[in-house]
């Protein structure tokens, strides 16, 4: 690894000079888009069959952040999702539960109550999700409210406008402030890579978030297209790998949005396995932000164990 000197700590207390931070981010090795896409496509052509597929499906289920982020969300909808999170397939108790349920801050209380004692986490988006266009005080209040209501994980969005206009210090300081507001809750930082446009920006934003104290870096809100893609996730996995090699601190990765099928999910697991490495192959370090993928995982799981496909009506829609 390149050595950046001792001053390069991970302390969220340190205020970093704007010039130093910008120079650091622009001093990171570039990303060749053609090469990154080629690598992601090649890994996507891995053939995961039989026992490996069974293992991958259970791992993927256990990594799902089951998500509902709609204006029309109600307590009833959230409770239904929580029930699904704990028993994804009511007819098969051997199916693992998902990692967390992800909701808006005002639904956290409902989710916490519904999931009490289940071991499934409650994640809440915060900081004026999905646009992030609100005063810092409002973002922090949003975060504190979600944590006070019992959220164990906070999914914040970065200020893409500030990032794209070169004001990386603003993004850094906001992230540091949100991290402090999180207290013990884990902080996932959403880069909204669909708006960052280039893989170079994805790498820079990843490092920026990690240096500001992110516990996880997450691709997307799911509200912008494109959401998660394999090349973007590849670059983020390279970033967390390099960051751990440089600092010793491990940061998780969460692709979100656009992951719909078991095949998609397995491609992401292969990407993790061969990029960041097996240390990241657990719900503690890798999550899949998605909802519709869960039923496909359950269908493929039943197909593997019984040898026949069950129709979609044999899996619950919540």
């Amino acid at each position: 690894m390149r050595v950046f000197g001792d001053a390069w700590g991970v302390s969220t207390e340190t205020l970093i000079g704007a010039a130093e931070l910008r120079a650091f981010l622009h001093g990171l090795p570039g990303v060749d888009q053609v090469g990154a896409e080629e690598r992601a496509a090649r890994l996507a052509s891995r053939s995961i069959k039989t026992s490996a597929k069974a293992e991958a499906i259970d791992l993927a289920i256990s990594m799902v952040d089951l998500t509902t982020l709609e204006g029309a969300d109600t307590a009833g909808k959230v409770r239904a999702l929580c029930a699904k999170a704990v028993h994804p397939d009511p007819s098969d108790p051997s199916v693992p539960k998902v990692a967390a349920v992800c909701v808006y801050p005002d639904m956290v209380e409902t989710a916490v109550a519904a999931l009490a004692g289940s071991g499934v986490g409650v994640a809440s988006v915060a900081t004026a999700f999905p646009s992030g266009r609100a005063p810092l005080e409002a973002k922090l209040a949003d975060t504190r409210a979600a944590v006070a209501a019992g959220a164990s994980e906070i999914d914040m969005v970065i200020d893409r406008g500030a990032f794209l206009s070169g004001d990386v210090v603003k993004v850094f300081e906001e992230t540091v402030a949100v991290k402090q507001a999180c207290g013990d809750a884990h902080l996932k930082v959403i880069l909204e890579t669909g708006e960052l446009a280039t893989l170079d920006n994805v790498r820079r934003a990843s490092w920026l978030a990690m240096r500001a104290g992110a516990d996880f870096i997450k691709t997307s809100t799911g509200k912008i297209s494109p959401a998660a893609t394999l090349p973007v996730t590849l670059v983020m996995l390279e970033a967390v790998r390099d960051y751990r090699a440089a600092t010793g601190r491990q940061v998780g990765v969460k692709p979100a949005g656009g992951i719909r099928t078991t095949k998609d999910a397995i491609k992401y697991l292969v990407l993790v396995n061969e990029t960041a490495g097996p240390d990241w192959l657990s719900p503690a370090w890798f999550r899949l932000g998605a909802s519709s993928v869960l039923n496909d995982l359950l269908m493929q799981r039943r197909k593997l164990s019984t040898g026949v496909y069950s129709g979609p009506d044999y899996f619950t829609l919540d």
Binding site: M1, R39, I48
Partner: protein
């Protein structure tokens, strides 16, 4: 926490039907050879695949005469548009039978199915499609209004890309109106013989394509045959020299595509993760059995340590094993003889003081295998920096300035290919201008396209294959 192990994912062999023995394909028929038949084996498990006929001088003569007759009676006089139709038909049949060709190639050669399926066979079809398009446009290729074919081409190809090298030779020759006698390598004849079947399926007139099998003697008889007008050879520099000597003073045209010792230059400002991919692809693609392989890594000293660290981590994820497993990255070494050569040169690297490293990697018990290998501390004077190893062995050298990079890159008797890795466009242009190599890749490596000419400087041979330039070798210009 358990490691995510990929279960075996073998491609089915049922799609290929390997016969017990194969004859010579002469004048549209499979006929017996009169030399001593030999066996072709599967390098992944050393099992015998088939008995292959061996062409002696009389057989070579028959094949050349058949090609001459087909040239004079049918093919040479046929309008280009009609020739093009045959080539398009062959290209389509190759696509239709692509899985069969890919599986057979992997069985006979040892290369991973991922490569034969995703690289070799699609390129083979692309080559025929591309040159099919030229068949009726030769007057616009820049060689005068009515360029004429040469006649009968004798073509000798190597074992590293058996079917692709066949396509590189046969497609342009046929498009220009020549007929051919082609000899595949003795260790990898099966896909060429399947191609003979494809020629019949396409109703190609008898004698236009003749495939004769055999070892060095057969090749020598072919290139020395007085009825041949043009020789095209891809293979070792030693054999290339012999052929050039044989042809000196004759009217035969000659193109040679020989060895290489390509430099892959990584500047400090390169996109390092992609550069590492390019290094891996440059040397471990096709087990390093690639004449244009990036076998000398020249890395700028300021990033050498970091690049090596990343490279070693990446090499540890390479999957070596069953060529037919869809997840295999590195397959079997093609032959015992080649394995001996790789071992001998690697041993010399250690003796001369370079540091050898391979990732932990379990190799199968049977068959010919060599773990991906890295040598650091290599000097320009070491044999592993000068001689072509033709295996999965990378020699790492460092440089300080762009001038030093170019000097070291050019300091080789070869000059086939080179790679440049930098995010700076002007650096790419400056470096490419100063490299004496036929192909220079920038921020990628081992990319082939039928529209792009390929060929070497110095001991890497002469003449160009591919693209418009590739027509010249098969036209009387």
């Amino acid at each position: 926490m358990t490691v995510f192990e990929y279960a075996p994912a073998p491609e089915s062999r049922s799609v290929v039907d390997i016969r017990g023995s194969y004859g010579l394909f002469i004048d549209g028929e499979f006929t017996d050879g009169h030399g001593e038949p030999f066996k072709t084996i599967n390098p992944a498990d050393e099992s015998v695949l088939a008995d292959i006929a061996c062409a002696d001088e009389a057989d070579v003569d028959r094949a050349v005469k058949a090609a001459r007759a087909a040239y004079e009676r049918v093919w040479g006089a046929m309008p280009g548009a009609e020739r093009g139709k045959y080539l398009y038909r062959i290209a389509r049949i190759i696509q239709e039978r692509s899985r069969e060709l890919a599986v057979l190639e992997s069985i006979d050669n040892g290369k991973p199915i991922r490569e034969s399926r995703d690289v070799d066979v699609p390129l083979v079809a692309a080559w025929f499609f591309y040159y099919a398009g030229w068949a009726d446009k030769l007057g616009h290729a820049g060689f005068g209004p009515h360029p004429q074919p040469v006649g009968v081409a004798g073509q000798v190809i190597p074992w590293n890309f058996p079917l692709l090298m066949l396509a590189w030779k046969i497609a342009p020759a046929l498009a220009c109106g020549n007929t051919v006698v082609l000899k595949p390598a003795e260790t990898t004849p099966l896909t060429a013989l399947l191609f003979a079947d494809i020629c019949r399926q396409a109703d190609l007139p008898p004698g236009v394509v003749n495939i004769i099998t055999g070892a060095g003697d057969t090749g020598r008889a072919l290139v020395a045959h007085p009825g041949i007008d043009k020789v095209a050879f891809t293979g070792s520099t030693d054999v290339g020299r012999q052929i050039a000597r044989t042809l000196a003073g004759t009217s035969k045209k000659l193109t040679l595509e020989l060895g290489g010792k390509a430099a892959n230059i990584v500047y400090a400002d390169a996109a390092l993760d992609q550069a590492v991919e390019g290094i891996v692809n440059g040397i471990f693609f096709n087990q390093g059995h690639v004449c244009c392989a990036g076998s000398r890594l020249l890395v700028q000293e300021s990033v050498a340590e970091e690049v090596l660290e990343r490279l070693k981590a990446r090499m540890a994820t390479l999957r070596v094993g069953d060529p037919l497993d869809k997840n295999t990255d590195i397959g079997a070494i093609n032959s015992a003889a080649q394995l001996d050569k790789i071992r001998e040169l690697s041993a010399s690297g250690e003796q001369e003081g370079a540091d050898r490293w391979s990732p932990p990697c379990r190799l199968p018990d049977r068959g010919f295998w060599f773990a991906p290998t890295l040598f650091t501390g290599v000097a320009q004077s070491h044999r592993i920096a000068r001689e072509e190893i033709f295996g999965p062995v990378l020699s790492v050298l460092t440089f300080r300035t762009p001038e030093e990079a170019v000097t070291k890159a050019n300091n080789t008797p070869y000059g086939l290919s080179a790679g440049i890795w930098t995010e700076k466009g002007s650096q790419i242009l400056w470096t490419a201008q100063h490299l004496r190599a036929g192909v220079v890749w920038a921020n990628t490596f081992n990319k082939f396209d039928p529209a792009s000419p390929f060929g070497g400087y110095k001991e890497s041979g002469y003449g160009r294959e591919g693209g418009r330039h590739g027509l010249e070798a098969y036209l009387n210009v």
